[in-house]
């Protein structure tokens, strides 16, 4: 679709061009396209929702009927309200402390005062925040390891031959298999009286890293190894140093492949995270699902379904964000 900025050097005066754009947008062809782009997904979703609403009551569980879309919608509202009221209580808790601290300081300016965190249970929305923080930390750690490693593997085929069997063996390992080992190692090594992060956070993050490392690693190494031989010859003729060669020729050339790897990695990281949080009891979405499952109230299934939809939606948004970054950074987009 043509926009104002893209209309080229032979731009008409602004008004004429705006009118032209409007005319283009209202032309039957453009309207048909817009309908296709908007209407068909809407139809798909509506059919799905009707099907879900009709089929859900047919499934009976020990916790009642399987929730339909209306139950889930209701619970989503419920979760939002719980979040609001918790938030209000937390604010009150902090203000109370601040007032008390102010009184203490007025009496004795040298007194040591501190504000304690609100001790209430995390709500669904703070759990989403925790999950996002965990997955992004794990993904960042994975990228920091995988991209340089991938470059080394791609540049040196002896190194590649040496580590290839290791990659092939560790790549398919499920997060559930890593988790007990990671938990034990973190418990044994991460010992501190005033830990900056919770152990459950570290455990989940490392598990995410271990599982999401591979696509970035493999794609980076393939991208680096597949630089156009002509460009390598240019680099040789120019006598570029190893560092300049890597930075100005190899890396940019591999950027599209690296981003493909990063996108797959982030998708895997998000999937792995939920399982890791369930087992590690990291206070994120995984723990929410697990707690609701253990809770077993009549609302539990609806609440879990809210989480399922939230997980799917966030995964989609994360992928879109990566795509946007890729379009900004990669030269072939």
């Amino acid at each position: 679709m043509t926009t104002l900025t893209k209309s080229g050097p032979d731009k008409l005066p602004a008004i004429g061009s705006a009118a032209r754009v409007l005319a283009e947008k209202l032309s039957p062809k453009a309207l048909g396209e817009a309908a296709r782009n908007l209407l068909l997904p809407l139809i798909g979703m509506t059919v799905f929702l009707i099907f879900w609403q009709l089929m859900a009551p047919q499934v009976d569980t020990s916790l009642g009927e399987f929730p339909g879309p209306t139950d889930v919608w209701e619970q989503a509202g419920q979760l939002w309200q719980e979040h609001q009221s918790e938030q209000a209580r937390a604010d009150k808790f902090v203000t109370m402390q601040e007032e008390r601290n102010a009184r203490i300081l007025a009496d004795n300016p040298d007194a040591e005062v501190r504000i304690r965190d609100y001790p209430g249970a995390p709500t669904f929305f703070t759990q989403i925040g925790t999950s996002l923080l965990t997955v992004l930390s794990g993904f960042a750690l994975a990228s920091i390891i995988a991209i340089p490693m991938g470059i080394m593997i791609g540049l040196n085929r002896y190194f590649a031959a040496a580590v290839n069997p290791l990659i092939q063996i560790f790549k398919p390992v499920s997060p559930l298999a890593w988790l007990p080992l990671v938990t034990m190692v973190v418990s044994a090594t991460y010992v501190s009286d005033d830990p900056m992060f919770e152990k459950a956070f570290i455990t989940s993050m490392i598990t995410v890293t271990l599982c999401s490392l591979w696509p970035t690693l493999i794609n980076t190494s393939v991208g680096v190894a597949a630089v156009d031989p002509d460009l390598l010859n240019v680099s040789k003729v120019l006598r570029l140093s190893f560092w300049t060669h890597t930075r100005r020729v190899v890396l940019p050339s591999a950027v599209p492949m690296i981003f493909t790897g990063l996108r797959v990695s982030l998708g895997i990281a998000w999937m792995v995270l939920i399982a890791a949080e369930m087992l590690a009891q990291n206070p994120g979405l995984g723990k929410f699902v697990w707690d609701e499952f253990q809770n077993g109230s009549s609302e539990s299934l609806s609440r879990i379904m809210v989480a399922v939809l939230a997980i799917g939606f966030i995964g989609f948004v994360l992928d879109r964000i990566m795509l946007l970054i890729q379009k900004k950074v990669a030269w072939n987009e």
Partner: protein
């Protein structure tokens, strides 16, 4: 004739294959003067590119060697700039940045930032590409990209410019334009050029000397033809110039009568011509020939070496 600028002596190139070494080139001897425009012509697979890559330093001759201005060539370097068939521009850099990468590398110390900038624009102007300085290679046509490839090579101030079928991937009109541009630039700068080509007209029009190579394996220099046509040359007026026609005919006769296509086996005896015979021409046979097995032929001397 002045002292030779670039000299290839007894160059042999063997590639290791599972069936033993494959001799691609054997005993190539070539002297090139400063400012001379030399074309290498021959059928596909005759090792023209191998010769160029040895001069560029991208390949190491297994025997013999290449000397440029008294220094042996061992590694690639900007004084032997290469123009590749498919422009070989970095697709993520703009036209300006592509030339800049070369200029920065070669003249980092010799030029100030401003001088470098002017030098880059000067070279883009030489090939009429200043207007596209901020475009990426993907946004310009193949002919324009090839111009930039030439500008990048010229910007290195090479003592010899190596061109590997520089116009092979272009359409006929674009090719003619670029040939004229190259002729002009070469005359202005008096650069030494070695160009590989498949195109007989291109070779005759541009060159001072045409080196005709025999078919591989163990390819060699079959004939050399000096083109004494006055410069500047105009393709239209030359078309019915008897000297031009004669030169063209000599090259065509070498390619299609004495050498024939690799795979065809009808090598005719080389008739004596006015051109100088520097190598054993006339063995137009090829090991991949279908109608004759290699044993039934009389292999030339270089062929025997190849089998041994």
């Amino acid at each position: 004739m002045s002292k030779s600028h670039l000299e290839l002596t007894g160059v042999q190139m063997a590639f290791d294959t599972p069936e033993g070494p494959f001799i691609a080139l054997d005993d190539i001897n070539l002297k090139i003067r400063k400012g001379e425009f030399v074309s290498l012509i021959g059928h596909s697979g005759c090792g023209k590119s191998t010769v160029l890559n040895i001069v560029a330093g991208l390949l190491q001759a297994t025997r013999g060697g290449c000397v440029l201005d008294g220094h042996e060539v061992n590694t690639p370097g900007p004084e032997r700039a290469v123009v590749f068939q498919n422009h070989a521009l970095m697709p993520w850099l703009t036209v300006y940045e592509n030339v800049q990468l070369a200029v920065q590398q070669v003249f980092r110390k010799a030029m100030s930032r401003r001088e470098r900038r002017e030098w880059i624009m000067h070279n883009l102007a030489l090939v009429n590409m200043e207007h596209a300085a901020n475009k990426r290679p993907g946004e310009i046509s193949g002919g324009m990209a090839q111009r930039v490839g030439i500008a990048r090579a010229l910007a290195m101030k090479p003592s010899v410019l190596l061109m590997d079928e520089p116009f092979g991937a272009l359409d006929a009109l674009t090719r003619a334009h670029l040939q004229d541009a190259l002729m002009e630039i070469q005359q202005d700068l008096n650069s030494t050029v070695i160009m590989i080509t498949h195109d007989v007209d291109e070779a005759v029009l541009l060159s001072d000397r045409i080196i005709m190579m025999t078919n591989g394996p163990a390819a060699n220099i079959g004939e050399e033809l000096t083109i004494d046509l006055p410069r500047p040359r105009n393709r239209v007026t030359l078309a019915d110039n008897p000297d031009y026609v004669h030169c063209r005919q000599a090259v065509l006769s070498f390619l299609y009568e004495k050498q024939t296509f690799p795979g065809k086996n009808k090598a005719e005896p080389a008739p004596s011509t006015t051109t100088t015979e520097t190598g054993a021409g006339g063995t137009g046979s090829n090991a991949t020939a279908t109608d004759h097995s290699p044993e039934t032929e009389k292999p030339g001397p270089e062929k025997q070496r190849a089998i041994a």
